[in-house]
Symmetry: C2
Subunit: 316 residues, 2 copies
């Protein structure tokens, strides 16, 4: 049997050396005082809940574990700085898959210049990765509670792709945009930073628009009216899932933003200049109900989202 320490060394070897006072290898990492406020978040990906080894390569798993954490930083407008990685591995987990997982994680870490400063290994029955990430704020944090009636609602990118990707994986497909969106979600870090100059509220879309919009509305004490026909859906999602894909498809890791009317024009110009796709999908309302307007102009109540303990579908 291999020792815990060879696991740690092999995992760490995929990452560049962290430029911090003390990196991995001691009881704690030591970080220099931050001049700016810190955003911190922790998020886990668990086998059979967030991925299956049949459908995700080790690189995909490593990527996704970091991506979901960076997405939380993006939603606050923070710049990722460092992260810790706690791994729970089945006893028979192959070393070569561990190294591939580290490589997938390290590629995304390099892209966002975020340093692995520490971590933990433990054995467990199922594979899971619990990461904690921290980012620095250049501006006041984007929160869920800053939305006000009349502010416009935006989403980035397209919705429902990750859900469609999951369906396609289950059907045996291994390629294509939607599959890639499920396996390799891209945290919208640059957009989050940009949005912190304009937006009144933000969050990332992990559980689907219907449910996540509910959280933003509740935190802000507002309602919302969403135009179904404005939802940014690809032709593939529209055909396979219809509006439901945009409303209930989870794991897109796009950003949901509210922008005050006076900032809308400048926000859209800044997004266009930066090549960030955003789409106005509705407006926050004083009336606390959340309603959808269908293409015929009829108001309908939103469907429930999903959460892990209620209606979360197993990945496979």
């Amino acid at each position: 049997m291999r020792g815990e320490f060879s696991f740690i060394e092999r995992f760490l070897s995929a990452f560049p050396r962290a430029r911090v006072p003390l990196g991995p290898g001691d009881d704690c990492a030591v970080l220099a005082p931050s001049r700016r406020p810190l955003c911190v978040t922790t998020d886990a990906v668990v086998e059979e809940v967030h991925f299956t080894r049949a459908h995700f390569s080790p690189e995909d798993i490593g990527h996704k574990a970091l991506a979901v954490n960076l997405s939380d930083l993006a939603a606050m407008g923070a710049t990722p700085r460092w992260f810790l990685c706690a791994l729970a591995l089945p006893r028979d987990f192959p070393m070569r898959e561990l190294v591939r997982m580290a490589r997938g994680m390290a590629a995304l870490a390099r892209e966002h210049r975020v340093a692995l400063v520490g971590g933990n290994f433990t054995s467990a029955r199922e594979l899971s990765l619990t990461l904690t990430a921290a980012g620095e704020l250049q501006r006041p944090a984007l929160t869920r509670h800053g939305g006000r009636p009349g502010h416009l609602l935006y989403v980035s990118g397209t919705l429902g792709e990750a859900r469609l990707g999951l369906d396609l994986l289950r059907q045996g497909h291994r390629r294509g945009t939607a599959v890639q969106r499920q396996r390799r979600p891209q945290p919208r870090v640059a957009l989050g930073r940009l949005a912190s100059r304009f937006a009144s509220a933000a969050m990332d879309l992990s559980d689907g628009l219907a449910q996540d919009l509910g959280h933003l509305c509740e935190a802000s004490g507002v309602g919302a009216e969403v135009e179904l026909s404005h939802l940014p859906l690809s032709a593939a999602v529209r055909q396979a899932l219809g509006f439901d894909g945009g409303l209930r498809g989870g794991e897109d890791y796009e950003l949901l933003l509210s922008v005050p009317p006076a900032r809308v024009a400048a926000f859209e110009r800044a997004c266009a200049r930066a090549g960030e796709r955003v789409t106005a999908i509705g407006v926050l309302t004083r009336d606390r109900r959340r309603v959808l307007r269908d293409p015929q102009g009829r108001l309908i109540p939103p469907p429930p989202g999903f959460d892990h303990f209620r209606v979360r579908p197993p990945v496979d």
Copy 2:
């Protein structure tokens, strides 16, 4: 079925409101800039590896999950400030046990004035808690690499109690010092801070003295000579486990410290004044071997420690 969000609310309700710019409930917590360097660590406790529900109450589990993280901060001489708690729960996990777990964690958090600032819930097949904790340094961090030949080796408290406690739990015992040490390890936070004024190196004893001393020696580039007869063993440990309990018993969460000879007298006086029990057990050596001296004065090589992937015994 209950929703993820009622779980979160019930869990959080056991903790005092964190005094930070933004606490739990958004995509990230927001923390004010720290004036001093930060120590960060992440550590997990997993059902059937670090505890069993048969032998640990929910309060014990919550306590232990935080204690093992605070112990890492203690080993650096840091003052705990905040932590994040990622929970993986089986789908049928009872809400009342979750609340009791939170209470056990919150009691230890209050004792050390450390604030829960965020977390995550996910479903999983087995129960696990992965915490990330951060502390501030008033002085340069205690590390594993500062030991030098001639520095004296100290351990806090007594050794082998947690291992004996585990044996007793398996035999059906439910009370007593050793059982309590297994269920409710006490992180040596005050001692760590005190030691940062005197010690050259430190680490916490999670895997047993034999193995952990090896890490300190390797990091410091030194060897060690340990007097078996000096190991602080209770009469119960001595009788049940002999020296092996002190050398290989894991999970004591005491501190292992090296102190330069010139600081030894002041260190021992400061410990006595603070009511911190420490015992000199040996000395670091230029020769990189690690040797034990038995009560007859004979040198013997140390036994291997354990690690989770090699010889870690299952909890039950």
